[in-house]
Subunit: 228 residues, 2 copies
DNA sequence: GTCTATATGTTGATAGAC
DNA sequence: GTCTATCAACATATAGAC
């Protein structure tokens, strides 16, 4: 009895330690990979940032690529959720505004993951499996179909759904991925919550209503709800 | 006389060789840096791709960073030009459409340079000098002032000029920088001219007129020229 | 200008004591 | 589970013969 209990306690502790250390390694790794890419990141750096000796990193992950692949996996999983806002049963104006807000929020809270994926895309997507690519394509198609449905109902201008989605993707991720230069452009040291809010307002306003002023300019961002 | 002439010929040849080799090195380097970043790129790779022995690369460039810095320099120089389209003496509709077209074209023709800069931004802009950052900020401010002028004249919707510029920047660069995943999203192996043209149309249409359909939907992308 | 050989340090990964 | 010591391979950069 006593022996068995000890074994369980020990197992729990070991599991706990494993969970904690893996988490620390992954946290350090995503930050480094996101800034320097796969080839540019050294295991020694990951070890240093996570506060573990290099050999311990190898104890939890067989290879450098195993860490990287794990991070890509968890990122793609998190992405499906953001696109759920674009659903056929909502009004396009509301759905698109919600999507932009959610995506900006996500990219702000998961900056490193977002950058990691950007880095992976720049590198040509070498570490994304064929299966994962098919998945990305499938969920994009689903949402493009929703947009096409809105267009057919006359609720949305007749734009190419795929390119429209890419536009939304591009604008909402830019702030997180390229924060360093965005901050310089805005004349700031660092982006804060107010900057993201201003970005959200501008993106929603332009995407929904366009930049060209109507004949009788309105004062707020809801103008076209009123004048149309 | 004969001796002097020989010396001149030799110097010309040497200059020519130098120019040619430096060009090959820079061409190979921009491609590699753009895909793998600074730390991820090896001098041996640059040498291999440019068809020169590694030691020759060091003959023309003292350090790896010297190559990288040179590339950043030439990229920033090429950028100023694209922004010139946004000038106060043009109508916003025409100027913005021209800018989007020019920027897309530029990013398509200089894909590697564009990606290199994206990579540099992901890395936090470590290799961009303070002076270069100030330059970026200065030219952005100029163009933001032009946009502000359009808004004051009632020609443009009252959006934040800086964020509006960032939107244009994001949408026009996405295709070049993230071509690998964009192609997957569009269900293609590779992006071609028609894809870029469709992207241009979509971006211009959405940025100028917005995505929400007007009461009486028009059939072409010039719709708001007619109904407004 | 070209290129072989090499100095000097760093890398991903492992062996094995604790 | 932890960590020192270490390996073979590879990195940036240089010396010096041609």
């Amino acid at each position: 009895m006593a022996k068995a209990k000890t074994a369980i306690v020990k197992a729990n502790t070991e599991e706990h330690i494993r969970a904690r250390n893996e988490k620390m390694i992954l946290k350090a790794a995503v930050e480094l990979f996101s800034r320097k890419g796969f080839d540019g990141t050294r295991i020694a750096e990951i070890a240093q940032v996570s506060g573990l000796p290099k050999a311990n990193v190898y104890y939890y992950f067989a290879t450098k690529q195993a860490i990287y692949t794990r991070l890509i996996e968890s990122l793609l999983a998190g992405w499906d959720k953001a696109l759920e806002h674009i659903s056929a049963d909502r009004e396009p104006r509301e759905a698109l505004a919600a999507y932009v807000a959610a995506k900006l929020e996500y990219s702000r809270k998961h900056t490193s993951e977002s950058r990691l994926f950007a880095n992976e895309m720049l590198g040509g997507g070498q570490f994304i499996s064929r299966q994962q690519k098919q998945h990305v394509r499938a969920i994009t198609r689903e949402r493009a179909a929703v947009i096409q449905g809105w267009i057919k109902k006359g609720k949305l201008a007749p734009v190419d759904p795929n390119h429209f989605l890419i536009m939304l993707w591009a604008t909402t991720q830019f702030y997180a991925d390229f924060a360093s230069v965005t901050a310089v452009t805005l004349g700031k040291g660092r982006l804060n919550g107010a900057d993201f809010e201003e970005a959200r307002k501008t993106i929603v306003e332009v995407v929904l209503n366009g930049a060209i002023a109507p004949m009788e300019p309105a004062k707020n961002s809801q103008r076209s709800l009123k004048i149309r």
